[in-house]
């Protein structure tokens, strides 16, 4: 893989933290908790999930979560 992708990923993260002004491990913490929560209901795909926060013009946080699951967990297993 060429360096463009790596640079893009870093920049995305840097710009996000600049905007939301949160500690640098903030997203990792939220992502980990969300993953654990989703994993109770789905078999999560190996690729994991994407999580981002943006600040809208009116000062609200826009939270985007995108995750892939291979299947739903059995209902009896959940309840």
């Amino acid at each position: 893989m060429r360096r463009r992708k790596e640079a893009l990923k870093r920049l995305q993260s840097v710009l996000m933290y600049d905007k939301i002004q949160a500690p640098s491990n903030f997203c990792e913490l939220v992502k980990r908790d969300l993953y654990t929560a989703l994993n109770d209901y789905f078999d999560m795909s190996e690729k994991g999930m994407d999580f981002s926060i943006e600040l809208s013009r009116d000062g609200k946080y826009i939270i985007t979560v995108s995750a892939k699951a291979t299947r739903l967990k059995n209902v009896p297993m959940i309840f």
């Binding site: 463009r4 870093r10 920049l11 710009l15 600049d18």
Partner: protein, 261 residues
């Protein structure tokens, strides 16, 4: 009434002065009456890049302190009749207020079609002074992580000013590196900054040399890029200079790959 465009960046050395000089020249060639205002007080360079440093008799501070009239301080470019420059002072950054800068811009407003303001690097007083007189702002950005990060911050700050328009000019684009996936593309930068670029200028060693001898760009490609930028500014179009064009043929791509191996 003139359009008053300020060129900012946050990060220094990304090419604001170079863009102001070359864009000014192209707007003038399109028949516009243009003045370039060097608002980089103390670190003035626009006069040398335009090759008029030996013609500077009065500068912006002389106008403000009443040693000359505004028209006396305007220097005509050697290569274009309808292009003028108002030089910055060698010192006195602390003496010139934003209100005074607005006064200068308001006086230039009635004499010209375009006032292009060259802003200093940074986001402190000098930035505020330069932006406060403008009606449109353009952020000059390079395809580097620090430049894009600063541009993003500057765009947020610009949102707090009353501006009719904001844009981004991507300067020093290396098409060869984009082709090899070793540099961020113009599209990448656009997506990150969430703004459609008004101009794309390629990396050009010759442009640097031209600036050193007080001339604007001479290479065909860079001239074309500035022509498109000037057209976009003038008409509001969003045409993009395609820096990848020259690598689009199959053989040229092969050649490039061989060169990089």
């Amino acid at each position: 009434m003139a359009k008053k465009l300020v060129f900012v960046s946050g990060k220094g050395g990304v090419g604001k002065t170079t863009v102001v000089a070359n864009l000014g020249m192209h707007l003038a060639r399109l028949g516009q009456n243009v003045v370039l205002l060097d608002a980089d007080i103390g670190l003035n360079n626009l006069d040398v890049i335009m090759g008029v440093e030996s013609k500077v008799v009065y500068d912006i501070l002389d106008v403000l302190e009443g040693r000359c009239r505004l028209k006396q301080a305007l220097i005509k470019s050697d290569s274009c009749d309808n292009l003028s420059i108002l030089a910055s002072a060698h010192f006195g950054a602390g003496h010139i207020t934003a209100a005074e800068m607005r006064l200068i811009v308001a006086n230039l407003d009635v004499l010209f079609d375009y006032v292009l303001i060259d802003c200093p690097a940074g986001i402190d007083n000098g930035f505020h002074r330069a932006v406060s007189g403008a009606s449109e702002a353009y952020v000059v950005v390079n395809p580097s992580i620090s430049s894009i990060r600063d541009a993003d911050k500057v765009l947020s700050i610009l949102n707090t000013y009353k501006l009719n328009k904001m844009g981004v000019i991507v300067n020093r684009v290396r098409a060869d590196l984009i082709m090899l996936n070793e540099s961020m593309s113009v599209d990448d930068i656009t997506r990150l900054l969430k703004i459609i670029p008004t101009g794309v200028i390629p990396e050009d060693d010759d442009l640097n040399l031209c600036s050193c001898v007080g001339k604007t760009a001479e290479s065909k490609e860079t001239k074309r890029a500035f022509e498109i930028l000037a057209e976009n500014i003038l008409t509001g179009s969003t045409k993009m200079y395609d820096c990848l064009e020259k690598y689009k043929s199959f053989f040229k791509r092969i050649k490039l790959r061989k060169r990089m191996v």
